[in-house]
Amino acid sequence: MAEFLEQYGLLLAEGTLETLYMTGAATFFAYVLGLPMGVLLTVTKPGAIAPAPRFNWVFGWAVNILRSIPFIILMFFMIPATRAIVGTSIGATAALVPLSVSAAPFVARMVEQSLEEVDKGVLEAAVCMGATRWQIITRVLLVESVPSLLRGLSICIITILGYTAITGSVGAGGLGNIAYRFGYQRYQTSVMYVVIVMIILLVCIIQTIFDAAARRTDKRNR
């Protein structure tokens, strides 16, 4: 055990940090893209606060198409774009580009689902108080749905964490890369098992934190 830690401890710690960095940063950028997309999907529906049915239909399909491209294909497809944005197509930072782009439409649908849960009557009440559309979005939709948005966020983080393992196999670093190098290329299965346990632990921790946060922020049930 001590021998194992001495040999691989630093490597695993580094891998974990790299995975957390990729997951955190990619989630951030996925929300920068996906949150406005989700809001747009919600408010442009027929009967919503800024109805634009035709735009909504086209945009909804664009999101679906983007979502249906498998991540591993998108990752290769985006190599030229990644080079243009980051300067290189290798490494953890370069992996953020396909990770964010691929997760954004997923985030958009999660956000849309959360915003849909907001009671229509509350939105009508805000309209009757003379709120502008922007005020309704920022002060009612995005505020009333916080607990649900947090639950969606935990699902998105865990999904993105899974994607980072794939980028690891093509040289982006992180736990996925370690599992690939030692478990697949060198048949050192003990390293791979530890990586699997680490990832399970990470997922559990993330889930627990966000479940607690969602419960704490929700004022509906107490």
Partner: protein, 246 residues
């Protein structure tokens, strides 16, 4: 003054269409407590939704102090809406905000409200509706009657000229109903707010309304001063409501 002229609202098209309001005309004078009574499905909520322009009338007009609300848009419409407080059938409170934050909400939509001024106004309103001790509570922690009071306080925050109430007592027990009606009468007398009450309960109308319109199947069956309408009912709908033989 609210004038409703030949207001018609049809939902859907062709075979499946429902005429919720059929050439409804009535006038609510400033300072009145006006009751609109009718059976379930008569079109009462639809009328309120047309007044607040949540539904677009199929035909007919709604005039607020002589101005057609359908012709308003943007800032003018938002301004007109602030002069008309709405208390919904289901309260429609913000569930993630405290009672005080709910009441402050319409004030914070306007520019130029200082923090202390908002706090003072919220305190004043919560005292008016008798909920000063619940300022920090969340709607989920309140009873139905208390939520109704918060909704009223919120609707009054921007000092509207008119208060529209959809079934303000239908979910309340008789005793709470009495105190709710007393509150509405106080608001009418002290603040000079015109009140339009939608209800299916005769007791509500006879307790506080000065005028009443009886609605049946989307049409105004009868309207006038409450004593006149209730002592000498002319229409079958009114008699039915009064539980007499048709």
């Amino acid at each position: 003054m609210i004038e409703i002229q030949e207001l018609t609202k049809v939902f859907g098209q062709g075979e499946a269409s429902v005429t919720a309001l059929d050439h409804v005309s009535l006038t609510v004078q400033t300072g009145d407590i006006y009751g609109i009574i009718g059976m379930s499905g008569a079109g009462k909520s639809t009328l309120l939704r047309c007044l607040s322009l949540l539904e677009t009338p199929t035909s007919g007009r709604v005039l607020l102090d002589g101005r057609d609300i359908a012709a308003m848009s943007g800032a003018a419409l938002r301004g007109a809406r602030r002069k008309m407080g709405v208390v919904f059938q289901g309260y429609n409170l913000l569930m993630q905000k405290t009672v005080a934050q709910n009441v402050a909400f319409p004030l914070k939509l306007e520019k130029g409200w200082q923090k202390d001024a908002v706090e003072a106004r919220v305190r004043e309103l919560l005292e008016l509706v008798g909920l000063a001790d619940k300022a920090a509570a969340y709607p989920a922690q309140l009873s139905g009657g208390q939520k109704q009071r918060v909704a009223i306080a919120r609707a009054l925050a921007t000092s509207p000229e008119t208060l529209l109430c959809d079934e303000p007592t239908s979910a309340l027990d008789p005793l709470t109903t009495q105190s709710m009606l007393k509150l509405l009468r106080d608001i009418n007398r002290k603040l000079g707010v015109t009140i339009l009450i939608i209800t299916h309960e005769l007791t509500v109308v006879s307790a506080i309304c000065s005028h009443v319109a009886v609605i049946g199947e989307g049409r105004v069956a009868e309207q006038g001063a409450v004593e006149t309408v209730f002592t000498a009912p002319q229409s079958p709908v009114t008699r039915q409501l009064l539980n007499r033989e048709v």
